[in-house]
């Protein structure tokens, strides 16, 4: 589903050149739950951004579903993104001016899902995540755990093939963190591919496989559980 060949990302400012990704070669199959670990600044978030097509690689190739997407235009990448990818962030990234319902509904507006379907799908998710009673609240009125559940709901509402999660439990206490990990595991069980960046060994072990990175390179790949 995802394959990179010598993927590279170099940030260039006036005087400094920082290599964030250096010859990264990974492959993620459909249905996998892959965790990416490594110290701060090792390039794991950059990898997630490039794989999520919200950042361009500086070199190498990136195949998504067999198609080279690393060098597509923003418009084309945006098109692939909205139909195939869902994002979960450490800081939730909900839009303050939209209610819980509207935040979850947002991706479907961009994929032009009819209003009645949108309502049905959002309500299913709200129900499933046990936040139906919060549907008309604004993000500031929710706890961290609730906000992340809304963010997960938003990420999966378009039924993406892949979910990219960047430290999804980083801002949560352990109970709420567990809750989110449970959600991700369930999604994976139902067939969604998940790529998660995390600092936490505990969280990483929810995945089938752990990729460890250092200084922009993949150093080891551990199989935690056998992929079926």
């Amino acid at each position: 589903m995802i394959k990179t060949v010598d993927l590279a990302k170099v940030y260039q400012t006036d005087e400094v050149e920082t290599t964030a990704l250096n010859q990264v070669n990974i492959e993620i199959k459909e249905g996998e739950f892959v965790s990416v670990m490594g110290p701060s600044g090792c390039g794991k978030s950059t990898l997630l951004n490039v794989l999520g097509m919200i950042d361009n690689p500086s070199g190498g190739e990136y195949f998504f579903n067999g198609e080279e997407v690393g060098h597509l235009s923003e418009r084309k990448r945006s098109n692939i993104r909205k139909h195939n990818l869902g994002f979960v962030f450490q800081s939730f990234n909900l839009i303050d001016e939209l209610t819980v319902f509207e935040n979850i509904e947002l991706p479907m507006l961009y994929t032009k899902v009819p209003a009645s379907d949108r309502k049905k799908r959002v309500e299913e998710l709200l129900e499933g995540m046990n936040i139906m009673h919060r549907r008309n609240h604004f993000p500031q009125q929710l706890s961290g755990g609730q906000q992340q559940r809304v963010a997960v709901a938003r990420a999966i509402v378009n039924r993406p093939k892949v979910i990219l999660a960047d430290e999804p439990t980083g801002n949560l206490d352990s109970a709420n963190g567990d809750e989110v990990m449970k959600l991700l595991t369930e999604l994976n069980a139902s067939g969604t591919t998940i790529l998660m960046v995390t600092h936490s060994q505990y969280c990483a072990e929810f995945g089938n496989r752990i990729i460890r990175m250092l200084d922009g390179q993949v150093v080891t790949e551990n199989v935690v559980k056998q992929y079926l």
Binding site: R75, K82, L85
Partner: protein, 788 residues
């Protein structure tokens, strides 16, 4: 989707109250100025365009050397146009006949705007008749046409047709037609029309305007050429009969001015016209409206782009969830249009409130009603276009951020370092300072003209128009009684007065072949004393010398210089139509008998009988009492008319009313532009403070004082305003110099006004910028750092 855009736009408006208020207020002020000026411009452009067949109607005028335009034409011209040129359908003369006293039973009304016309006038110009027949209304020499407004005042509910009214206490006329303009505007806004009482057969005398209606598709230029050749030949033949040569360069070109252009394109024409329009002012007003609106739009652009830093997360999320750039652009444009619509509503309220003041400034009676549905559509369109213009740049910039950068707040430090914003702020203040500097010089010029030594003393002189030619003699007979009133110093009668329209006559100088055209005032011997004229050579006219009341003349210095009279006293001159030669007996020091927009021209003062104004010099602290005594005496001098007087100095000052009104418009626009720019500056410092809150905290921990923090924040904006000032100085210098070219007498372009205005604006801007920076500087560092 749109619902989502609207929802988020509304919520943002509500959540960011200060920015919303700043933005919508600034746009509202800009839209108000644009709306008021727009209403005015539309009003001015609509003059006469509604008159049927106006495209076929023209007014004849004469041009010399492409510069000086005169509307006065000879009496026989209309008849010649009708009979000799196949392209002419009809032609007819008109002359404003000033103020008339209308009487019906015990009602006495002074009608300010009256005109004399040929009987066929309304066959040329199809003004709408509410009653009567335009073809025949003036067939009878005693027929009279009045406006519906005058009819209502005189007759109320009664039918005016056929009723008789008395004019100027002597002649009876009967009403044969009622003209109703129904609120539409025309340069022909007379309340009373009657037939000419006289006709001059001369081609060299110009005494009326001639209107002509031509066939569709006929060549106007062709007709102009033919008329120029034919009429100039007639003039030349006539003058040759008087032994006068006419130089080819002294011959005018005869032109046709389109009817609908008369209102706006006649400011340079010598002609009596109430509420004259001025196309140049219209262009300047239009430009001001655009500039003020632009300053308001810049405000929005600045605040929206500054605010964008707070919207990084939203933009990022929308992008990663699949928003196309075009969708984000649509979203931001929805917001700007929404704000513009809110501003539009405020602008309509402000316009309604300000319209009475604006009407005074532009001397019109504009109403919103006259624009109806079209006005509403125009307003909505203007608002939406404003919203689009304001929103486009921010929308393109904000939607162009890459999600990964905005999510990581990297874009704060990337990009143009706010260069574009700086350019906009500088432009805003450059426009503001230019307008205010221009305004300052308009006022300086008006003050200069009002305080200039005119060469005569207009203070404490009352002037009274005379209604009959015989009143002249009545005054002479009662002059001693008039002078006996304590406080009356001197009294005089004259054909014209300084500041009024003064005619030019053709004169001959003994021993020379060519004719000359000086301005002419007929006065009695006391005129020099009343006006306090300074006789430089010889003497003024004398009562004791019989020839002084017939054909002796006093001239001004300019005449001596321009007509090259080496020895003026005793030089023989005469009007072309006179048979006997007269002599120059005195030379007076030059005085401004026109407004200071025009240079002093050659002037002849003689003792002829045509005298239409009395002027009385007073010297009293008890004005009311003296005026009451004069009024009592006046009832004996001219029993049929109540005395109507004006003060000469006020009349002279009124010559600059148009400039004053223009100055006021620039002043108000300048101040409103300043207000908008300050609103923007306030918003920008607010964002600057928000962005630098952490920096401020760290600086404070390291020992920075409040004043150094205020300086830090304010300085970046003050520098921009100084740059704006440096741009505004040459621009306004150029504009002021250009504008002053309209005046023969010009105030100095004093250098000190530039720094004074600049400094005032910089101080106001500093105060505005300090409000926010002071607040930030006074926050405890713990709070500011925690916020970050």
């Amino acid at each position: 989707m749109w619902l989502n855009y609207l929802k988020i736009a509304f919520r943002r408006l509500a959540n960011n109250r200060i920015v919303s208020v700043l933005n919508s207020l600034a746009l509202a002020v800009g839209l108000t100025v644009a709306l008021l000026i727009g209403i005015f411009i539309t009003h001015e452009l609509q003059y006469d365009r509604w008159v049927p067949d106006h495209e076929q109607v023209f007014r004849v005028y004469r041009v010399w050397n492409q510069t000086s335009n005169v509307v006065w034409t000879p009496s026989p011209l209309a008849e010649k146009l009708r009979s000799d040129y196949p392209e002419v359908i009809s032609a007819s003369g008109l002359s404003p006949s000033g103020e008339k006293l209308v009487e019906l039973a015990d009602k006495q009304i002074f009608v300010e705007h009256t005109a004399a016309v040929d009987s066929t006038f309304f066959q040329v110009v199809s003004l709408p008749f509410a009653a009567g027949d335009p073809e025949t209304a003036l067939s009878d020499p005693k027929g009279m046409i009045i406006s519906t407004k005058l009819a209502e005042i005189i007759f109320g509910e009664e039918d005016p047709l056929g009723q008789t009214i008395r004019l100027d206490g002597t002649d009876d006329y009967f009403i044969t037609g009622i003209i109703s303009l129904e609120g539409r505007n025309s340069h022909l806004a007379f309340d009373l029309y009657r037939r000419f009482e006289w006709y001059s057969p001369y081609w060299s005398g110009n005494n009326r305007a001639t209107y002509v209606k031509v066939n569709q598709n006929s060549s106007v230029e062709g007709l102009e050429g033919k008329v120029t050749t034919d009429v100039n030949k007639l003039v030349q033949q006539e003058l040759a009969g008087m032994n006068l040569n006419v130089n080819a360069e002294d011959q005018a070109e005869w032109r046709l001015q389109p009817f609908a252009k008369i209102h706006l394109h006649s400011s340079e024409y010598s002609w009596i016209q109430s509420k004259k329009g001025n196309i140049e002012h219209l262009y300047i007003f239009g430009l001001i409206a655009v500039l003020v609106l632009l300053v308001a739009i810049f405000n929005y652009v600045n605040l929206a782009t500054a605010q964008a830093t707070q919207r990084g997360r939203e933009i990022g999320v929308r992008k990663v969830t699949g928003a196309m750039r075009s969708q984000l652009v649509s979203q931001f444009l929805t917001e700007s249009i929404l704000i513009a619509l809110v501003a539009g509503v405020i602008a309509i309220v402000l316009t309604v409130l300000l319209l009475p003041v604006f009407n005074e400034v532009v001397d019109r009676t504009l109403t919103l009603q006259e624009y109806g549905l079209l006005g509403v559509i125009g307003m909505v369109l203007l608002t939406i276009i404003t919203g689009l213009l304001a929103g486009t740049y921010p929308a393109l910039v904000i939607s162009g951020y890459r999600p990964v950068e905005v999510m990581q707040k990297k874009f704060f430090h990337a990009g143009d370092k706010g260069l574009f914003r700086k350019v906009l702020v500088t432009s805003q203040f450059a426009i503001t300072i230019t307008l205010l500097l221009f305004m300052a010089f308009i006022y300086k010029q008006i003050h200069f003209m009002n305080s200039q030594d005119l060469g005569f003393d207009p203070e404490q002189i009352i002037t009274v128009p005379l209604n009959f030619s015989t009143t002249n003699y009545s005054i002479q007979n009662r002059k001693n009684d008039l002078l006996a009133i304590p406080g009356v110093e001197a009294a005089s009668v004259s054909s014209r007065l300084p500041g009024k329209l003064i005619p030019d006559w053709t004169i001959r100088i003994m021993g020379r072949e060519e004719g000359y055209n000086p301005y002419v005032i007929f006065t009695d011997p006391d005129f020099a004393e009343v006006m306090d004229l300074n006789v430089k050579e010889g003497r003024y006219l004398d009562e004791e010398i019989a020839a002084d009341s017939v054909n002796n003349f006093v001239v001004n210095e300019t005449l001596v210089r321009e007509f090259q009279l080496d020895d003026p006293i005793g030089a023989e001159i005469k009007f072309t139509s006179d048979t006997v030669w007269g002599r120059i007996v005195g030379v007076v020091e030059d005085f401004n008998f026109h407004s200071l927009t025009r240079p002093i021209r050659p002037l002849v003062m003689g003792g002829g009988e045509r005298k239409w104004f009395a002027s009385v010099r007073l010297n009293t602290a008890e004005l009311d009492q003296v005026l009451a005594s004069i009024q009592t005496l006046w009832q004996e001098i001219e029993p049929t008319h109540p005395m109507r007087f004006e003060f000469l100095d006020e009349e002279f000052a009124a010559l600059y009313e148009e400039q004053s009104r223009f100055g006021n418009t620039v002043l108000y626009s300048g101040l409103l532009t300043l207000l908008i720019a300050l609103l923007g500056l306030f918003g920008l410092t607010m964002f600057s403070v928000q962005r630098r809150v952490k920096e401020i905290g760290i600086r404070k921990i390291l020992g920075a004082s409040v004043s150094s923090i205020v300086k830090l924040i304010s300085l970046e904006f003050i520098l921009l305003i100084i740059v704006a000032f440096l741009i505004a100085v040459p621009v306004s210098f150029y504009i002021v110099r250009k504008w002053l070219e309209n005046f023969a007498y010009q105030t100095d372009v004093s250098w000190w006004l530039f720094p004074v205005i600049g400094l005032v604006i910089i101080i106001i801007a500093m105060i505005t910028a300090s409000v926010q920076s002071l607040r930030a500087a006074n926050l405890r560092p713990a709070t500011t750092l925690r916020t970050e």
